[in-house]
């Protein structure tokens, strides 16, 4: 077949080891020690903050020198000998059954090793979970479901041969129609923890809540808003496609697999394949973006392992194509949201309701907490929320950056703007008048809530007081100019199930291990900073090890929970190590000291409401003739607690705000109602913000420590940046044009009158 002239070339493995300096070992599983936290020689040291590199130090990413050369090892890039390639085959119907399979032509193609379909795929021990199990029956639940796979000696052959596999189907009617007036909408059940726990919604909260008398409040109101907002299907589209390299031998089962955590998928796949605990090792030190799409779904791991079982001892490589990612790794569900607000003459809210209808899959219920922010944002005596879902022939939706609030705040916050217009009141003033003292539903205190200060600081920096009171009042060179504002909130949860080890060697070096993930958030740097602070030693004495299921179990990265969950656990491990050292009379034995501890219980978690806050400001220009929308300026001020690392935190918020801009102006996945397929399923058809779409974005953090949440005093920063951005931009577009767009995205056709 093919051959590579390697006569004068060192092996790939040697090249990799030699080429990346001090962090080279990161690329080999047996030597995974990438975070000598002082970083390699080329990494700048602290540019401010603590000289010891603890919490608050503005450190550059420790893996930066690797990433700028393309030398950080993503899943598909792990060097393996003589790999086989697997190419998945996707269904071309949305509902029905496979009635016939003809793999003859594919199998006859030179270089093809095997063809997997439901007829011959390994039977899984846990075949009911559609986000893990594939090829277990002839049933097709959505367009673009995996119905087969070709394994071959090369990518080209696998892909070509996949086109030779012939499938016949018995089709059933397709229903992908999300409407609020469907008569089969239902209350979601058992959606918590992706269906693992009994709570109605994904975050465990009930589908419906009621406090006081909403109807009476609304009847007594002087000013009322009753409006419906819609958001479309959106797709995560991390730059790195979902990929896995699997090797299955009698001794080991290894899966290099891009993932938001290694422990959860390791456990899911262990269950699916009926393996002994610990037999499967999952390794994922670097992840090329995830945004929710690499959290629960483990399909790419399942298929790669099935392929590896077929060719024992030979590594199997799989990467979904960009097109395949649109159906196999989840999406943000479309929503239809009705918000009703009632206020007295002074602008005090007397009634709030938020009713959400969302799409989900017949294959599995996913129901996110779209209404959650309306439960906590503003005070009002009469209030209610509800969530209903439509079960459709669509792929299973999942969490996507800011799940719940990102869409929900596109309803509540424009409605608040509409109310401010009716009242003739400044929209910031309206929000400040309705700040709750305690959580409006639970009555519990907030651990910290500096929303008012965010608005105050933002208004000053943005120059808000110069704003014209009337819409469509400013124009320049054919562009209508407007400004808008919105509030942001996102919970800062601590997820259960993390454990960390801390070790002190005789030479004075500390090693902290936890199976956490860095999906681009900066974990390699920030967790090391937390460890240094917790251990009370300079950063350069700490080695952090993450991204490998061989390390102590950790929750996945998501919901802005990472630092809170993992950092708290590392603090506990550091304390236990100090205790062990004290018990040993302060000396380190020759074999070193090591402790492994779980995340401690904390009674405060039940006593307070924990969350991040923000004030989003936008300047929008709308072209008077073409309706083109530009966003030359965004400014956000955020209350994310004490900042672990201002460099990486700013990037998180900057990224989140740019996501907000992107979901407002561009993002929409169209579905063909005849066939149930996503139409614009590539990056040419699914637009997200490119460089030229983005203007000035300013990020400011208050840096106020939260004294209740965790030992660091930090709150979540991963989601809050996207929350409220779309509302601020849509409110600014109204200010520019006098046109209220209630349906995302804010495309030019909606602004031409």
């Amino acid at each position: 077949m093919t051959s590579v002239n390697e006569t004068n070339e060192p092996s790939r493995r040697a090249v990799l080891k030699a080429g990346v300096g001090g962090l080279g070992a990161a690329m080999l599983p047996s030597m995974a020690e990438p975070a000598h936290a002082a970083g390699p020689a080329t990494a700048p040291s602290a540019v401010g903050g603590g000289a010891a590199g603890g919490i608050g130090a503005a450190l550059k990413r420790v893996e930066g020198p690797l990433k700028v050369r393309g030398a950080a090892t993503y899943a598909f890039e792990w060097p393996v000998e003589n790999p086989a390639y697997l190419y998945p085959l996707l269904s071309t119907i949305a509902s029905g059954r496979i009635t016939a399979v003809d793999a003859g032509d594919a199998l006859a193609e030179p270089g093809v090793i095997g063809v997997l379909t439901h007829m011959n795929a390994p039977r899984l021990a846990w075949a009911e979970e559609p986000e893990v199990a594939v090829l277990q029956s002839d049933k097709v639940a959505y367009h673009g479901q995996i119905v087969g796979a070709v394994i071959a000696d090369s990518i080209e052959t696998a892909r070509y041969a996949a086109g030779l596999v012939k499938l016949e189907y018995a089709t059933e009617p397709v229903d992908v129609d999300l409407r609020a007036d469907r008569d089969d909408l239902r209350k979601p059940e058992h959606a918590q923890g992706f269906g693992q726990l009994p709570g109605d919604l994904m975050n465990g909260s009930p589908a419906d809540t009621t406090v006081g008398d909403f109807a009476a409040g609304m009847a007594s109101a002087v000013h009322r808003v009753d409006a419906t907002y819609t958001t479309p299907v959106q797709h995560h589209n991390p730059m790195e496609p979902h990929a896995a390299v699997a090797t299955w031998t009698d001794d080991e089962i290894t899966l290099y697999c891009g993932s938001q955590g290694v422990s959860t998928p390791q456990e899911l796949l262990t269950r699916a394949f009926g393996l002994q605990p610990g037999r499967l090792r999952l390794i994922s030190p670097y992840v090329g973006g995830a945004f929710g799409s690499k959290d629960f779904s483990a399909l790419w791991g399942t298929v790669a392992l099935m392929g590896a079982q077929l060719v024992p001892g030979r590594p199997v490589k799989l990467a979904f194509t960009r097109q395949q990612m649109f159906t196999l790794v989840g999406h943000r569900p479309a929503s239809i949201q009705r918000v009703q607000l009632g206020a007295d003459a002074a602008g005090k809210l007397v009634a709030i309701s938020h009713d959400a209808v969302q799409e989900t899959a017949k294959a599995k219920q996913y129901a996110e907490q779209t209404v959650q922010a309306s439960r906590s944002m503003y005070a009002a005596p009469g209030r209610r929320t509800s969530t209903r879902i439509a079960l459709l022939d669509v792929p299973v939706p999942t969490i996507m950056r800011g799940p719940g609030e990102a869409t929900g705040m596109f309803a509540l916050e424009p409605a608040m703007d509409e109310l401010a217009v009716k009242l003739g009141m400044d929209p910031i003033e309206l929000r400040l008048r309705n700040e709750p003292e305690t959580h409006p539903e639970t009555g519990q205190p907030f651990s910290s809530r500096h929303l008012a200060k965010c608005f105050e600081e933002g208004a000053r920096r943005f120059g808000w007081k110069h704003r014209d009171k009337k819409p469509r009042a400013r124009r320049k060179d054919g562009w209508l100019i407007g400004t808008g504002v919105a509030a942001a909130t996102y919970p800062s949860p601590r997820l259960p199930g993390s454990t960390a080890s801390a070790r002190l060697d005789k030479n004075g070096r500390y090693t902290v291990r936890i199976a956490a993930a860095d999906i681009g958030t900066g974990t390699w740097t920030t967790l090391a900073q937390i460890a240094a602070e917790a251990l009370g030693v300079p950063l350069d004495r700490v080695t952090l090890q993450i991204g490998d299921s061989a390390y102590p179990r950790a929750s996945s990265g998501g919901f802005s929970s990472g630092m809170n969950s993992w950092g708290t656990t590392i603090y506990a491990a550091a304390r236990a190590l100090h205790t062990a050292l004290d018990e040993n009379g302060g000396s380190v034995p020759p074999e070193g000291l090591q402790v492994t501890v779980g995340m401690p219980d904390d009674p405060k978690l039940k006593q307070y409401e924990f969350g991040s806050y923000g004030a989003q400001f936008a300047e929008v220009r709308v072209h008077e003739d073409t309706g083109e929308v530009r966003v030359p300026r965004l400014l956000g001020v955020f209350d994310v607690g004490r900042v672990i690392n201002p460099v990486t935190a700013r990037s998180q918020l900057l990224g989140g705000m740019t996501w907000g801009l992107s979901m407002t102006l561009h993002e929409e996945t169209a579905i063909d109602h005849r066939y149930g397929n996503f139409v614009n399923n590539d990056l040419g058809g699914y637009h997200f913000a490119a460089n030229a779409d983005v203007g000035s974005i300013e990020v400011h953090m208050l840096g106020e420590r939260d004294s209740h949440i965790n030992p660091m005093g930090s709150k979540g920063a991963g989601e809050i940046g996207i929350i409220g951005t779309a509302a601020a931009i849509a409110n600014a577009a109204y200010d520019a044009t006098g046109i209220r767009v209630r349906d995302l995205p804010l495309t030019l056709d909606k602004l031409l009158r």
Partner: protein, 169 residues
């Protein structure tokens, strides 16, 4: 159908026999172990696979390897000399112009080539004077010229800052 070709990759001559269907990107990544350029879309829509091919930036997923026998290829790995990083690479680190890092090698190759294009007076769609001998790389010019490289972590503001600093120096 297979053919023997020679490529000069990051300064090293590499000879290989390849399938005529193999893209330059797959030849680099899967055959030569050069994984610095990334596969993001395989359709020339994201720019993660950007390399310099005979001095020009290209999306290597849209180039067939067999059609480029004898070509010179430079990846982000080849812009650095060991631990001695290219000024654009250093600037990307200093400005935190990446998060997950997957689009970064393509961004950096694209930036290096773009700086050269600007030096040579190539106009962009936002250039006021198409015949100007010299292009002033302000933020708008940089953003426009870098819009073939998508970044889903959305580090765009920092990417422009990183390139602007190099362009000014």
């Amino acid at each position: 159908m297979e053919q023997k070709i020679t490529l000069r990759v990051d300064g090293k001559e590499r000879t290989l026999t390849i399938d005529a269907r193999t893209t330059l990107l797959d030849a680099l990544r899967e055959r030569l172990g050069v994984t610095s350029p990334k596969k993001g879309c395989d359709h020339g829509q994201c720019g993660a696979c950007t390399v310099m091919l005979d001095g020009r930036r290209v999306t290597s997923c849209l180039v067939l390897a067999v059609a480029n026998d004898g070509a010179e290829v430079v990846t982000a790995a080849g812009l650095a000399h060991g631990d001695d990083l290219h000024p654009v690479q250093r600037s990307f680190i200093a400005e935190d112009a990446f998060q997950c890092g997957y689009c970064t090698p393509g961004q950096i190759v694209s930036a290096v080539a773009m700086l050269r294009e600007a030096e040579e007076g190539w106009p962009s769609v936002v250039s006021e004077d198409l015949d100007a001998d010299r292009v002033v790389l302000d933020r708008e010019e940089i953003a426009e010229r870098m819009s073939g490289n998508l970044c889903r972590c959305a580090a765009y503001v920092n990417i422009v800052s990183a390139i602007e600093k190099v362009a000014r120096s």
